[in-house]
Symmetry: C2
Subunit: 380 residues, 2 copies
């Protein structure tokens, strides 16, 4: 068996953002050598890995060359050159999760078709190639429009309610999904190892920013009835199996007021909705991802405490970030700021996150509210 | 106020061993820029810091030049050039803890005299300049001999029971301390900020390796009666105040069968006896050290779970390390291996540690025993 620790085995990580940075805490703890590829000289993961290489993650030759020099490849982002990964896999390199998952997930129409074809519950939808086709097939408003590709952090998704909304839809391939009123959004981080071991973290509930379409905070546990939580976990498991996943995956789901569950979308990597696991669970999502891709025994996904995770979003100004109020919030017990180290703040950019734990969820939520009011990202 | 996060403020760390590596997890989380000085090209902290500089920590010019390039200096090891730190302080550089502490602590005779002069309970002793003087003043056996300088991890300390033991004592400055039968050894990690805030972690009990004079495991909580634990904390506080500490310090103490407490020695930095805080306390010792030297509000030292910490020591062979059984122990819930990444194993070398948490101390101890039996460091 490969001796991963304190050896020449090198894990290549595509992407050096905050997720890569946090994954590197776990590779460091187990002394697993890493190499990171990222386009930015100021990537958060820089200075936290044995080797850092600057390069375009979408460029075939760059990704191919990077992958050939490492022993295994994983990703912290989906916007990568999938053809290069497929070629590396063909050459015998281990790529986890497999490139096929990224191909399916990277196109929302393919992703929705995948759920339909695998009997995974998802909201009714139709795909189209252009706006003309969309308008022809649209049966009424409101409806949800999604771009097939290019969406991220709220871009590429819109609720269409009026003719004005329709007018703004760009002419590009996409899908229309049934609009569901009063739904809740939950996420389950699920890990699966090449040996087939499965471990699902408890579901978290995501509360969105009213305008930015970004998660403003999430909390764990959710208020789902036990049988609904169990069903959500079973759905997440079936998704992981359908994808033949090796690694961790966030399965985002809608829960209707009458507790029907629909898979919204997945991210085949550690995810914003799993940040709280670092402090509030026996195993963090990053450790779990690492265990999964290396085919080590999966860690216990058990929760230790109720937790709230707040994204620290850039304020209205752009420029060199200042974190006002951070010293103040360090006075609170059980408050864990993670500052990603991005060189520039921009409106709504994810600059960091804060995990708040409490003896009860109410206590954690109250503390998180105080924290939210105090911490402001300015530029200057 | 200085904006430490995402700024050009640079914390210089003398020493890049495992303690430095773990401290870098916390600077990374808060995005505080670091520069590390260590003699080894393969230091565990390498690849985890913005800047890594190879150099001799005992060399005046090296430490001086390193210190002049950073904004604040701290240490993860005591074997450093103290004159250079004193010079840097004279030049207006912030050095925390202050060089004077290292001067006192670095010489066991000075350290013992410090306790005596500050009414801090410590076992009776006398200091001497050479072996002749020691033999003249020795009033009987058994007694404990300690070298004034150069002791570390069991070297430079001996229990003298027989003439043969006496014969082996080298001719060098040192001290003789009363030998105490059946004592227990505890440690309290205590942090103090320049503003004077104090925070003591709960005491841990240290169980030593029968021959190597190294901590084999420690557990928290101790079995000390509550009033003894309180007295130990008060003593640790008085030590931190007497030293005018800025940072964290391990205060190692003896507890006699009739619950008298004596300070044995201190380490003015994060310490082996605080490793378990990473997983089992609200704040880790490394985060606490960072908060203390930056004069941020100290974190809560509250324990969350009973914990056992096992040192992973090198086996009888020397060479490239192999960690046999590590995959197996990852099957256990609440078991956290930390592999330091040292390039070479040697007998009794600290190669890593494992923290084991449990719902009860008994559960954690039982799990730790299993772990200890499974994990072996070999060379090859």
């Amino acid at each position: 068996m490969t001796q991963y620790w304190s050896s020449t085995f090198t894990l290549g990580i595509l992407g050096g953002g905050q997720l890569g940075k946090m994954l590197l805490d776990e590779t460091a703890r187990l002394d697993i050598r890493t190499s990171v590829l990222d386009p930015s000289a100021e990537a958060p993961a820089r200075g936290r890995t044995e080797t850092f290489q600057r390069g375009n993650l979408m460029d075939y030759e760059t990704v191919l060359a990077f992958g050939r020099e490492v022993d295994m490849i994983t990703c912290e982002i989906e916007h990568i050159n999938i053809d290069a990964l497929a070629q590396l896999e063909k050459e015998g390199k281990i790529v986890r999760p497999s490139p096929g998952i990224f191909r399916t997930v990277g196109n929302k129409s393919l992703q929705k078709a995948f759920y339909r074809d695998h009997d995974i519950p998802t909201l009714p939808f139709f795909s189209f190639e252009n706006k003309r086709e969309m308008l022809d097939r649209l049966e009424g408003l409101p409806a949800v429009w999604k771009a097939a590709t290019g969406g991220y952090d709220g871009r590429g998704v819109a609720v269409l309610r009026t003719q004005a909304d329709l007018d703004q839809v760009p002419d590009m391939p996409g899908l229309i999904e049934t609009y569901m009123e009063d739904k809740r959004e939950i996420s389950i981080l699920i890990a699966r190892s090449p040996s087939g071991q499965l471990a699902a973290f408890p579901a978290v509930e995501m509360v969105f920013h009213p305008t930015a379409n970004l998660v403003e905070h999430l909390h764990s546990p959710t208020s789902l009835p036990a049988e609904v939580a169990t069903r959500a976990r079973e759905i997440a498991e079936s998704v992981a199996k359908a994808f033949d996943l090796a690694g961790i995956m966030a399965v985002e789901m809608f829960v209707t007021p009458d507790n029907r569950i629909y898979v919204n979308e997945v991210a085949p990597r550690p995810h914003n909705s799993g940040h709280h696991t670092i402090e509030s669970h026996l195993t963090s999502q990053h450790e779990q991802h690492l265990r999964a891709i290396l085919d080590l025994p999966l860690g216990s996904p058990r929760a230790l405490f109720p937790a709230v995770m707040l994204n620290v979003l850039g304020g209205p100004e752009s420029g060199k970030p200042r974190y006002e109020g951070l010293t103040e919030i360090l006075r609170e017990e059980g408050v864990y700021p993670h500052i990603y180290g991005k060189a520039e703040t921009r409106p709504f950019r994810k600059m960091g996150h804060i995990t708040v734990i409490g003896a009860t969820l109410e206590e954690a939520l109250a503390k998180a509210e105080k924290v939210k009011q105090r911490l402001v990202v300015t530029a200057g």
